[in-house]
Protein backbone atom coordinates (compact mmCIF):
# COMPACT_ATOMS: atom_id res chain seq x y z
CA UNK A 1 0.00 0.00 0.00
CA UNK A 2 1.20 3.47 -0.82
CA UNK A 3 -0.04 6.86 -1.87
CA UNK A 4 -2.40 6.48 -4.84
CA UNK A 5 -3.02 9.90 -6.39
CA UNK A 6 -4.82 8.45 -9.42
CA UNK A 7 -7.45 6.73 -7.30
CA UNK A 8 -7.75 9.86 -5.15
CA UNK A 9 -8.54 11.88 -8.27
CA UNK A 10 -11.10 9.26 -9.31
CA UNK A 11 -12.95 9.72 -6.02
CA UNK A 12 -13.36 13.50 -6.39
CA UNK A 13 -16.32 13.23 -8.83
CA UNK A 14 -17.87 10.61 -6.52
CA UNK A 15 -17.50 13.06 -3.62
CA UNK A 16 -19.13 15.82 -5.67
CA UNK A 17 -21.99 13.59 -6.85
CA UNK A 18 -22.55 12.24 -3.34
CA UNK A 19 -22.72 15.68 -1.74
CA UNK A 20 -24.97 17.10 -4.47
CA UNK A 21 -27.12 13.96 -4.28
CA UNK A 22 -27.59 14.15 -0.53
CA UNK A 23 -28.61 17.81 -0.68
CA UNK A 24 -31.07 17.13 -3.52
CA UNK A 25 -32.72 14.22 -1.69
CA UNK A 26 -32.78 16.18 1.56
CA UNK A 27 -34.21 19.24 -0.20
CA UNK A 28 -37.05 17.21 -1.67
CA UNK A 29 -37.81 15.63 1.72
CA UNK A 30 -37.86 19.10 3.34
CA UNK A 31 -40.23 20.33 0.66
CA UNK A 32 -42.51 17.34 1.24
CA UNK A 33 -42.54 17.98 5.01
CA UNK A 34 -43.52 21.62 4.44
CA UNK A 35 -46.34 20.54 2.13
CA UNK A 36 -47.45 17.85 4.58
CA UNK A 37 -47.43 20.29 7.48
CA UNK A 38 -49.43 22.83 5.46
CA UNK A 39 -51.91 20.25 4.22
CA UNK A 40 -52.55 18.63 7.57
CA UNK A 41 -52.41 21.60 9.95
CA UNK A 42 -55.72 22.63 11.44
CA UNK A 43 -57.11 26.03 10.38
CA UNK A 44 -56.41 28.81 12.89
CA UNK A 45 -60.15 29.26 13.49
CA UNK A 46 -60.42 25.71 14.84
CA UNK A 47 -57.46 26.26 17.14
CA UNK A 48 -59.00 29.45 18.49
CA UNK A 49 -62.26 27.58 19.15
CA UNK A 50 -60.35 24.86 21.00
CA UNK A 51 -58.53 27.45 23.08
CA UNK A 52 -61.82 29.22 23.89
CA UNK A 53 -63.34 25.88 24.96
CA UNK A 54 -60.52 25.40 27.44
Amino acid sequence: MGINVDLFLQTLPIMAKGLVGIFIVTGIIILCIYILNKATSRPKKDKKKDDAGK
Binding site: L7, V25, I29
Partner: protein, 377 residues
Protein backbone atom coordinates in the same frame (compact mmCIF):
# COMPACT_ATOMS: atom_id res chain seq x y z
CA UNK B 1 7.95 -40.83 31.44
CA UNK B 2 6.57 -41.51 27.99
CA UNK B 3 3.24 -42.54 29.44
CA UNK B 4 3.01 -39.22 31.34
CA UNK B 5 3.69 -37.34 28.12
CA UNK B 6 1.03 -39.38 26.33
CA UNK B 7 -1.39 -38.60 29.18
CA UNK B 8 -0.71 -34.85 29.15
CA UNK B 9 -0.39 -34.34 25.39
CA UNK B 10 -4.14 -34.15 24.65
CA UNK B 11 -4.57 -31.70 27.54
CA UNK B 12 -1.71 -29.31 26.80
CA UNK B 13 -1.02 -30.02 23.14
CA UNK B 14 -2.97 -27.01 21.97
CA UNK B 15 -0.48 -24.67 23.68
CA UNK B 16 1.89 -25.16 20.77
CA UNK B 17 -0.74 -23.63 18.48
CA UNK B 18 -0.78 -20.41 20.49
CA UNK B 19 0.53 -17.43 18.58
CA UNK B 20 1.71 -14.07 19.98
CA UNK B 21 -0.79 -12.35 17.64
CA UNK B 22 -3.61 -14.20 19.37
CA UNK B 23 -2.37 -13.02 22.76
CA UNK B 24 -2.35 -9.43 21.43
CA UNK B 25 -5.97 -9.95 20.33
CA UNK B 26 -6.87 -11.14 23.85
CA UNK B 27 -5.42 -7.89 25.15
CA UNK B 28 -7.44 -5.91 22.56
CA UNK B 29 -10.56 -7.87 23.56
CA UNK B 30 -9.77 -7.10 27.20
CA UNK B 31 -9.40 -3.40 26.41
CA UNK B 32 -12.78 -3.36 24.65
CA UNK B 33 -14.40 -5.05 27.66
CA UNK B 34 -12.65 -2.57 29.99
CA UNK B 35 -13.85 0.42 27.94
CA UNK B 36 -17.39 -0.98 27.94
CA UNK B 37 -17.53 -1.75 31.67
CA UNK B 38 -15.40 0.98 33.22
CA UNK B 39 -15.83 3.84 30.76
CA UNK B 40 -19.39 3.01 29.65
CA UNK B 41 -18.31 3.29 26.00
CA UNK B 42 -21.05 1.73 23.82
CA UNK B 43 -21.15 -1.27 26.21
CA UNK B 44 -23.88 -3.09 24.29
CA UNK B 45 -21.56 -3.53 21.35
CA UNK B 46 -18.01 -3.23 22.67
CA UNK B 47 -18.45 -5.81 25.43
CA UNK B 48 -19.72 -8.62 23.15
CA UNK B 49 -17.11 -7.65 20.57
CA UNK B 50 -14.35 -7.76 23.18
CA UNK B 51 -15.44 -11.17 24.43
CA UNK B 52 -15.88 -12.35 20.85
CA UNK B 53 -12.33 -11.20 20.02
CA UNK B 54 -11.05 -13.47 22.78
CA UNK B 55 -13.29 -16.36 21.68
CA UNK B 56 -12.16 -16.39 18.07
CA UNK B 57 -8.49 -15.99 18.96
CA UNK B 58 -8.14 -19.02 21.17
CA UNK B 59 -5.87 -21.50 19.40
CA UNK B 60 -7.94 -23.82 17.15
CA UNK B 61 -11.05 -22.12 18.49
CA UNK B 62 -14.15 -24.21 17.97
CA UNK B 63 -16.33 -21.17 17.24
CA UNK B 64 -14.59 -20.71 13.87
CA UNK B 65 -15.30 -22.97 10.92
CA UNK B 66 -12.39 -25.36 10.28
CA UNK B 67 -12.73 -27.71 7.34
CA UNK B 68 -16.06 -29.51 7.61
CA UNK B 69 -16.61 -28.45 11.23
CA UNK B 70 -18.86 -25.40 11.25
CA UNK B 71 -18.09 -22.88 14.01
CA UNK B 72 -21.00 -21.08 15.62
CA UNK B 73 -19.57 -17.56 15.20
CA UNK B 74 -19.01 -18.15 11.49
CA UNK B 75 -22.49 -19.65 11.27
CA UNK B 76 -23.96 -16.54 12.91
CA UNK B 77 -21.90 -14.33 10.60
CA UNK B 78 -23.12 -16.13 7.48
CA UNK B 79 -26.74 -16.11 8.59
CA UNK B 80 -26.89 -12.63 10.13
CA UNK B 81 -24.25 -10.30 8.73
CA UNK B 82 -23.11 -11.72 5.38
CA UNK B 83 -26.71 -11.38 4.17
CA UNK B 84 -27.12 -7.99 5.98
CA UNK B 85 -30.02 -9.31 8.08
CA UNK B 86 -28.88 -8.21 11.56
CA UNK B 87 -28.20 -4.52 10.74
CA UNK B 88 -31.54 -4.28 8.95
CA UNK B 89 -33.48 -5.84 11.82
CA UNK B 90 -31.68 -3.53 14.22
CA UNK B 91 -32.85 -0.62 12.07
CA UNK B 92 -36.48 -1.61 12.69
CA UNK B 93 -35.81 -1.22 16.41
CA UNK B 94 -33.94 2.06 15.98
CA UNK B 95 -36.70 3.44 13.75
CA UNK B 96 -39.24 2.59 16.42
CA UNK B 97 -37.15 4.47 19.00
CA UNK B 98 -36.84 7.75 17.06
CA UNK B 99 -39.23 10.63 17.54
CA UNK B 100 -38.96 12.76 14.41
CA UNK B 101 -41.15 15.44 16.02
CA UNK B 102 -38.40 18.09 16.46
CA UNK B 103 -37.43 17.62 12.81
CA UNK B 104 -41.01 17.78 11.52
CA UNK B 105 -41.49 20.99 13.51
CA UNK B 106 -38.51 22.61 11.81
CA UNK B 107 -37.75 20.70 8.58
CA UNK B 108 -34.92 22.95 7.42
CA UNK B 109 -32.80 21.40 10.17
CA UNK B 110 -32.38 18.46 7.78
CA UNK B 111 -29.91 20.52 5.78
CA UNK B 112 -27.42 20.25 8.63
CA UNK B 113 -27.85 16.49 8.64
CA UNK B 114 -26.91 16.51 4.96
CA UNK B 115 -23.92 18.84 5.48
CA UNK B 116 -22.56 16.74 8.32
CA UNK B 117 -22.10 13.78 5.97
CA UNK B 118 -19.18 15.64 4.38
CA UNK B 119 -16.77 13.55 6.46
CA UNK B 120 -17.92 10.39 4.70
CA UNK B 121 -17.06 11.65 1.23
CA UNK B 122 -13.87 13.38 2.37
CA UNK B 123 -12.69 10.16 4.02
CA UNK B 124 -13.52 8.20 0.87
CA UNK B 125 -10.98 10.33 -0.98
CA UNK B 126 -8.43 10.14 1.84
CA UNK B 127 -8.71 6.35 2.08
CA UNK B 128 -8.22 6.11 -1.69
CA UNK B 129 -5.20 8.42 -1.44
CA UNK B 130 -3.66 6.15 1.19
CA UNK B 131 -3.88 3.16 -1.11
CA UNK B 132 -7.11 1.38 -0.22
CA UNK B 133 -9.06 0.15 -3.23
CA UNK B 134 -12.34 1.87 -3.99
CA UNK B 135 -14.57 -0.68 -2.24
CA UNK B 136 -12.48 -0.69 0.92
CA UNK B 137 -12.23 3.11 0.80
CA UNK B 138 -16.03 3.33 0.61
CA UNK B 139 -16.39 0.88 3.49
CA UNK B 140 -13.93 2.88 5.61
CA UNK B 141 -15.55 6.19 4.67
CA UNK B 142 -18.89 5.02 6.00
CA UNK B 143 -17.43 5.08 9.53
CA UNK B 144 -18.32 8.76 9.17
CA UNK B 145 -21.99 7.84 9.07
CA UNK B 146 -21.57 7.47 12.86
CA UNK B 147 -24.14 4.75 12.53
CA UNK B 148 -23.20 1.15 13.36
CA UNK B 149 -25.79 -0.73 11.28
CA UNK B 150 -25.11 1.42 8.18
CA UNK B 151 -21.35 0.84 8.57
CA UNK B 152 -21.87 -2.91 8.87
CA UNK B 153 -24.29 -2.95 5.94
CA UNK B 154 -22.07 -0.99 3.56
CA UNK B 155 -18.78 -2.66 4.55
CA UNK B 156 -20.40 -6.05 4.17
CA UNK B 157 -22.01 -5.11 0.85
CA UNK B 158 -18.57 -4.33 -0.53
CA UNK B 159 -17.18 -7.51 1.08
CA UNK B 160 -14.48 -5.45 2.75
CA UNK B 161 -11.58 -7.34 4.28
CA UNK B 162 -11.51 -4.82 7.11
CA UNK B 163 -15.01 -5.28 8.53
CA UNK B 164 -13.74 -5.91 12.09
CA UNK B 165 -11.54 -2.80 12.18
CA UNK B 166 -14.27 -0.67 10.58
CA UNK B 167 -16.88 -1.69 13.16
CA UNK B 168 -14.48 -1.25 16.09
CA UNK B 169 -13.66 2.25 14.78
CA UNK B 170 -17.31 3.16 14.13
CA UNK B 171 -18.56 2.19 17.58
CA UNK B 172 -15.49 3.52 19.42
CA UNK B 173 -15.74 6.97 17.86
CA UNK B 174 -19.50 7.07 18.46
CA UNK B 175 -18.75 6.57 22.13
CA UNK B 176 -16.02 9.20 21.91
CA UNK B 177 -18.27 11.89 20.40
CA UNK B 178 -18.14 13.95 23.65
CA UNK B 179 -14.33 14.01 23.33
CA UNK B 180 -13.95 14.32 19.55
CA UNK B 181 -16.53 17.00 18.76
CA UNK B 182 -16.00 19.87 21.28
CA UNK B 183 -12.45 20.82 20.20
CA UNK B 184 -13.48 20.85 16.52
CA UNK B 185 -16.56 22.98 17.28
CA UNK B 186 -14.52 25.42 19.37
CA UNK B 187 -11.84 25.68 16.72
CA UNK B 188 -14.38 26.60 14.03
CA UNK B 189 -16.61 29.00 15.97
CA UNK B 190 -16.10 32.29 17.76
CA UNK B 191 -17.38 32.90 21.28
CA UNK B 192 -19.91 35.33 19.81
CA UNK B 193 -21.26 32.62 17.53
CA UNK B 194 -21.48 30.12 20.38
CA UNK B 195 -23.53 32.64 22.34
CA UNK B 196 -26.23 32.94 19.66
CA UNK B 197 -29.56 32.12 21.23
CA UNK B 198 -32.19 30.15 19.35
CA UNK B 199 -35.60 30.33 21.01
CA UNK B 200 -37.62 27.16 20.39
CA UNK B 201 -41.13 27.57 19.03
CA UNK B 202 -43.35 24.63 19.90
CA UNK B 203 -45.45 23.72 16.87
CA UNK B 204 -48.11 21.10 16.52
CA UNK B 205 -47.36 18.19 14.17
CA UNK B 206 -50.40 16.30 12.96
CA UNK B 207 -50.65 12.55 13.29
CA UNK B 208 -51.16 12.30 9.51
CA UNK B 209 -47.78 14.00 8.97
CA UNK B 210 -46.11 11.66 11.43
CA UNK B 211 -47.58 8.63 9.64
CA UNK B 212 -46.90 9.82 6.10
CA UNK B 213 -43.35 11.02 6.85
CA UNK B 214 -41.67 7.56 7.01
CA UNK B 215 -43.53 6.43 3.89
CA UNK B 216 -42.55 9.52 1.89
CA UNK B 217 -38.90 9.45 3.02
CA UNK B 218 -38.66 5.79 2.00
CA UNK B 219 -40.16 6.49 -1.43
CA UNK B 220 -38.00 9.53 -2.17
CA UNK B 221 -34.77 7.91 -0.99
CA UNK B 222 -35.66 4.67 -2.74
CA UNK B 223 -36.18 6.42 -6.06
CA UNK B 224 -32.87 8.32 -5.87
CA UNK B 225 -30.81 5.55 -4.30
CA UNK B 226 -32.51 2.20 -4.96
CA UNK B 227 -29.77 0.27 -3.17
CA UNK B 228 -30.62 2.17 0.01
CA UNK B 229 -34.21 0.93 0.04
CA UNK B 230 -33.48 -1.86 2.49
CA UNK B 231 -31.66 0.47 4.90
CA UNK B 232 -34.07 3.38 4.83
CA UNK B 233 -37.09 1.11 4.43
CA UNK B 234 -36.43 -0.89 7.60
CA UNK B 235 -35.60 2.27 9.58
CA UNK B 236 -38.80 3.92 8.45
CA UNK B 237 -40.84 0.73 8.89
CA UNK B 238 -39.88 0.81 12.56
CA UNK B 239 -40.88 4.47 12.73
CA UNK B 240 -44.21 3.79 11.02
CA UNK B 241 -44.98 1.10 13.60
CA UNK B 242 -44.24 3.67 16.30
CA UNK B 243 -46.30 6.50 14.83
CA UNK B 244 -49.33 4.65 13.46
CA UNK B 245 -50.82 4.43 16.94
CA UNK B 246 -52.39 0.99 16.48
CA UNK B 247 -49.30 -1.19 16.89
CA UNK B 248 -48.07 -0.11 20.28
CA UNK B 249 -47.23 -3.63 21.33
CA UNK B 250 -45.16 -4.23 18.17
CA UNK B 251 -43.49 -0.85 18.59
CA UNK B 252 -42.58 -1.74 22.14
CA UNK B 253 -41.20 -5.12 21.04
CA UNK B 254 -39.15 -3.53 18.23
CA UNK B 255 -37.70 -0.88 20.57
CA UNK B 256 -36.79 -3.29 23.33
CA UNK B 257 -36.85 -7.03 22.70
CA UNK B 258 -35.90 -7.01 19.00
CA UNK B 259 -33.22 -4.30 19.34
CA UNK B 260 -31.71 -5.98 22.40
CA UNK B 261 -31.72 -9.44 20.88
CA UNK B 262 -30.07 -8.32 17.65
CA UNK B 263 -27.54 -6.15 19.50
CA UNK B 264 -26.66 -9.11 21.69
CA UNK B 265 -25.87 -11.27 18.66
CA UNK B 266 -24.39 -8.51 16.51
CA UNK B 267 -21.39 -7.70 18.70
CA UNK B 268 -20.24 -11.24 19.22
CA UNK B 269 -20.84 -12.10 15.56
CA UNK B 270 -18.68 -9.23 14.30
CA UNK B 271 -15.83 -10.88 16.18
CA UNK B 272 -15.72 -13.38 13.31
CA UNK B 273 -13.74 -10.69 11.51
CA UNK B 274 -11.45 -10.01 14.44
CA UNK B 275 -9.16 -12.99 14.01
CA UNK B 276 -5.54 -12.03 14.61
CA UNK B 277 -4.29 -12.58 11.07
CA UNK B 278 -6.97 -10.36 9.55
CA UNK B 279 -7.04 -7.72 12.29
CA UNK B 280 -3.43 -7.16 13.30
CA UNK B 281 -1.96 -5.25 10.41
CA UNK B 282 -0.92 -1.65 9.71
CA UNK B 283 -4.17 -1.08 7.80
CA UNK B 284 -6.16 -1.43 11.03
CA UNK B 285 -4.27 1.53 12.54
CA UNK B 286 -4.80 3.49 9.33
CA UNK B 287 -8.54 2.70 9.44
CA UNK B 288 -8.74 3.90 13.05
CA UNK B 289 -7.02 7.15 12.00
CA UNK B 290 -9.31 7.58 8.97
CA UNK B 291 -12.35 6.97 11.19
CA UNK B 292 -11.26 9.89 13.34
CA UNK B 293 -10.79 12.01 10.20
CA UNK B 294 -14.35 11.11 9.16
CA UNK B 295 -15.83 12.22 12.50
CA UNK B 296 -13.79 15.46 12.53
CA UNK B 297 -14.81 16.42 9.00
CA UNK B 298 -18.46 15.46 9.64
CA UNK B 299 -18.45 17.88 12.54
CA UNK B 300 -16.65 20.54 10.52
CA UNK B 301 -19.08 20.09 7.62
CA UNK B 302 -22.12 20.74 9.82
CA UNK B 303 -20.62 23.72 11.65
CA UNK B 304 -19.23 25.40 8.53
CA UNK B 305 -22.52 24.94 6.68
CA UNK B 306 -24.35 26.70 9.52
CA UNK B 307 -21.80 29.54 9.36
CA UNK B 308 -22.34 29.73 5.60
CA UNK B 309 -26.12 29.97 6.04
CA UNK B 310 -25.63 32.71 8.62
CA UNK B 311 -24.14 34.90 5.89
CA UNK B 312 -27.63 35.11 4.37
CA UNK B 313 -29.95 34.82 7.38
CA UNK B 314 -31.34 37.68 9.42
CA UNK B 315 -32.17 35.37 12.31
CA UNK B 316 -28.79 33.81 12.98
CA UNK B 317 -28.30 30.12 13.74
CA UNK B 318 -25.96 28.98 16.46
CA UNK B 319 -23.42 27.15 14.25
CA UNK B 320 -22.75 24.60 16.97
CA UNK B 321 -26.03 22.85 16.15
CA UNK B 322 -24.57 21.91 12.74
CA UNK B 323 -22.24 19.52 14.55
CA UNK B 324 -25.24 17.46 15.70
CA UNK B 325 -25.85 16.44 12.10
CA UNK B 326 -23.91 13.22 12.63
CA UNK B 327 -25.98 10.16 13.35
CA UNK B 328 -24.62 9.43 16.86
CA UNK B 329 -27.87 9.89 18.75
CA UNK B 330 -28.35 11.43 21.26
CA UNK B 331 -24.70 11.98 22.24
CA UNK B 332 -24.04 14.60 19.62
CA UNK B 333 -27.17 16.62 20.49
CA UNK B 334 -26.21 16.51 24.17
CA UNK B 335 -22.66 17.67 23.44
CA UNK B 336 -23.94 20.75 21.61
CA UNK B 337 -26.54 21.47 24.28
CA UNK B 338 -23.90 21.28 27.01
CA UNK B 339 -21.52 23.49 25.07
CA UNK B 340 -24.31 26.05 24.65
CA UNK B 341 -25.00 26.02 28.37
CA UNK B 342 -21.30 26.32 29.15
CA UNK B 343 -21.21 29.60 27.22
CA UNK B 344 -24.54 30.95 28.47
CA UNK B 345 -26.62 29.29 31.18
CA UNK B 346 -29.84 30.50 29.53
CA UNK B 347 -29.03 29.17 26.05
CA UNK B 348 -31.06 26.00 25.56
CA UNK B 349 -30.12 24.42 22.24
CA UNK B 350 -31.34 20.91 23.00
CA UNK B 351 -34.51 20.83 20.88
CA UNK B 352 -32.69 22.26 17.86
CA UNK B 353 -29.73 19.94 18.26
CA UNK B 354 -32.05 16.93 18.72
CA UNK B 355 -33.83 17.91 15.49
CA UNK B 356 -30.50 18.11 13.65
CA UNK B 357 -29.35 14.87 15.25
CA UNK B 358 -32.37 12.85 14.04
CA UNK B 359 -31.88 14.45 10.62
CA UNK B 360 -28.37 13.06 10.72
CA UNK B 361 -29.81 9.60 11.23
CA UNK B 362 -31.78 9.86 8.00
CA UNK B 363 -28.99 11.65 6.13
CA UNK B 364 -26.38 9.05 7.09
CA UNK B 365 -28.58 6.31 5.63
CA UNK B 366 -29.10 8.35 2.46
CA UNK B 367 -25.32 8.91 2.24
CA UNK B 368 -24.75 5.18 2.70
CA UNK B 369 -27.26 4.47 -0.06
CA UNK B 370 -25.64 6.98 -2.39
CA UNK B 371 -22.23 5.39 -1.80
CA UNK B 372 -23.74 2.01 -2.70
CA UNK B 373 -25.17 3.53 -5.86
CA UNK B 374 -22.09 5.48 -6.91
CA UNK B 375 -19.52 2.73 -6.43
CA UNK B 376 -19.91 -0.57 -8.27
CA UNK B 377 -19.58 -3.71 -6.20
Amino acid sequence: MESITQFLEPLFGNFVNLDIKQVIMWVIGGILIYLAVKKDMEPTLLLPMGFGAILVNLPLSGVITRGDEVGVIDLLFDSGIANELFPLLLFVGIGAMIDFGPLLTNPKLMLFGAAAQFGIFFTLSMAALFGFDLKDAASIAIIGAADGPTSIYVANYFESNYLGAIIVAAYSYMALVPIVQPPVIKLLTTKKERLIRMPYEQKEVSKTTRILFPIIVTMITGIFAPKAVALIGFLMFGNLIRECGVLNSLSDTAQNVLANLITLLLGITIAARMQADAFLNPQTLLILALGLVAFIFDTAGGVLFAKFLNLFLKKKINPMIGASGISAFPMSARVVHKMGLAEDKQNFLLMHSIGVNVSGQIASVIAGGLILNLIAR
